[in-house]
Symmetry: C2
Subunit: 238 residues, 2 copies
DNA sequence: CGCCGTATTGAGCGCTCTCAAGCTAGGTGG
DNA sequence: CCACCTAGCTTGAGAGCGCTCAATACGGCG
């Protein structure tokens, strides 16, 4: 059964925690919650959470683990649309179409909370603070991956790494962490090739901006990295 | 004063119309609405609706006209983040940060409905169908501009033109319409140069896929255009 | 009519892709 | 324990798409 304790370590940094641990902890509310958060899935690496064309019925909060979402086009090419980490929420994009648009698969062993959308709507109505919080989360998702608008490969990768460091550990920014995905997946997401990612990581390493050894990465000059991320190549002058 | 008549021509295709013309038309509801939709702005071409760093207080529905949102980076380069047309809603991206992230300016003379966010939240709580509708709209915005993920310039422009034709006239897809923005703005939005846009439009015209004369564009082979938009260049085979 | 912003078209260049060849780490089986 | 195998990563050389720079044409507006 689900542990709704406020101090449950795996819920501590979940962006959905107001949903599960909201202040009014009376029995009626808890029974509502128990109806809302239906079950936990345990996914092993490469296992599927949902597939495109599946009817949209639930949104999902990641209690622990990492996932990616992707489309497959007519030619069979995979296009990664997002990465999701502990405490983040998947499925909002499917409210609109009533079916999922992407495939969602685990990048590592993961635990997922399933929340049926109908229960979700009902709870939102019962709790204005929760309603406000959900609009906040969706607004946040509107701005995720804004660095994909950057032009050069260097900018996009630098911004991606910084974003990753924040999202992997929401409580405090980490300068050392493990990349949860392959070079191939990073490249696919940033619309670059794995070779370009590999070359750029080597270049950053060469310039002592990062240290990198396989999946383990460390920021040596965070400010320099931020500079690269914000840096513009001089196009589009007003 | 605002005309809340259901048949008001300018509200007919507004995605926000449930907000203003929702079924329960009792006096209490109308007074709520009157408090919610605060006023209408009349913007002339190039006039500003909001600026980055302005405190977020309102969301805006476009009653008539076209707007663009953009960022300006440290080097003074403009980066267009979105186009918005009659009946669409701006400002959701600012809920999260409590201040606007972009500049919003009119591409043509426009009329805008201003809805204070606090009133908006209150109304959502009063009307579950409205709450559901807003989640629908925000979910929709999560998927806007997905063609920016396409790789080739040809793909991106073709998908942009198709998207435009739907959004300029939500009730029925138009094969002939006027481009509301410059080549420069299209290029900026698609992360291409104005020269590339110009060359591609000429190429589509050469291939009899579209007819184009200045701002006036006509789809001659819509299916072919859709094929180009979906077409992949063969990268990222699984 | 003359001005100026916008659009078109051309020539050359550079960034990123493609293709290809090694390399490394981790897993498997003998 | 080691030989092998495979997937992922690195690195190099060449090609191509879209950018840069530049010249010209067009059109709206005073």
């Amino acid at each position: 059964m689900i542990n709704f304790d406020n101090n449950h370590p795996t819920c501590e940094h979940c962006t959905f925690s107001p949903f599960c641990t909201i202040e009014e902890k009376n029995s009626r509310w808890m029974s509502q919650i128990n109806r809302a958060v239906k079950q936990h899935y345990h996914l092993k690496k490469n296992e599927v959470l949902y597939l495109p064309q599946n009817t949209f019925r639930n949104i999902y909060a990641i209690q622990r683990g990492n996932l990616k979402t992707y489309q497959v086009d007519a030619d069979g090419n995979e296009l990664i649309r997002g990465f999701y980490f502990s405490g983040e929420v998947l499925g909002f994009e499917a409210i609109y179409t009533r079916h999922y648009l992407f495939s969602a698969v685990a990048l590592s062993d993961s635990v997922i909370c399933e929340i049926p959308y109908d229960n979700f709507l009902e709870l939102l109505h019962l709790s204005p603070p929760l309603q406000k919080h959900i609009l906040y989360l969706m607004s946040q998702q509107l701005n995720v991956g804004s660095y994909l608008f950057s032009i050069t490969a260097e900018q996009r990768l630098a911004a991606f790494l910084i974003d990753l460091s924040y999202r992997l550990n929401p409580s405090e920014m980490q300068t050392t962490f493990l990349l949860p995905m392959s070079r191939q997946d990073i490249g696919n997401y940033l619309r670059l090739t794995a070779e370009t990612i590999s070359r750029l990581l080597s270049q950053f390493k060469e310039n002592k901006i990062i240290a990198i050894d396989h999946k383990k990465i460390e920021f040596l000059q965070l400010e320099q990295l931020k500079l690269i991320a914000d840096m513009n190549d001089g196009r589009c002058k007003i």
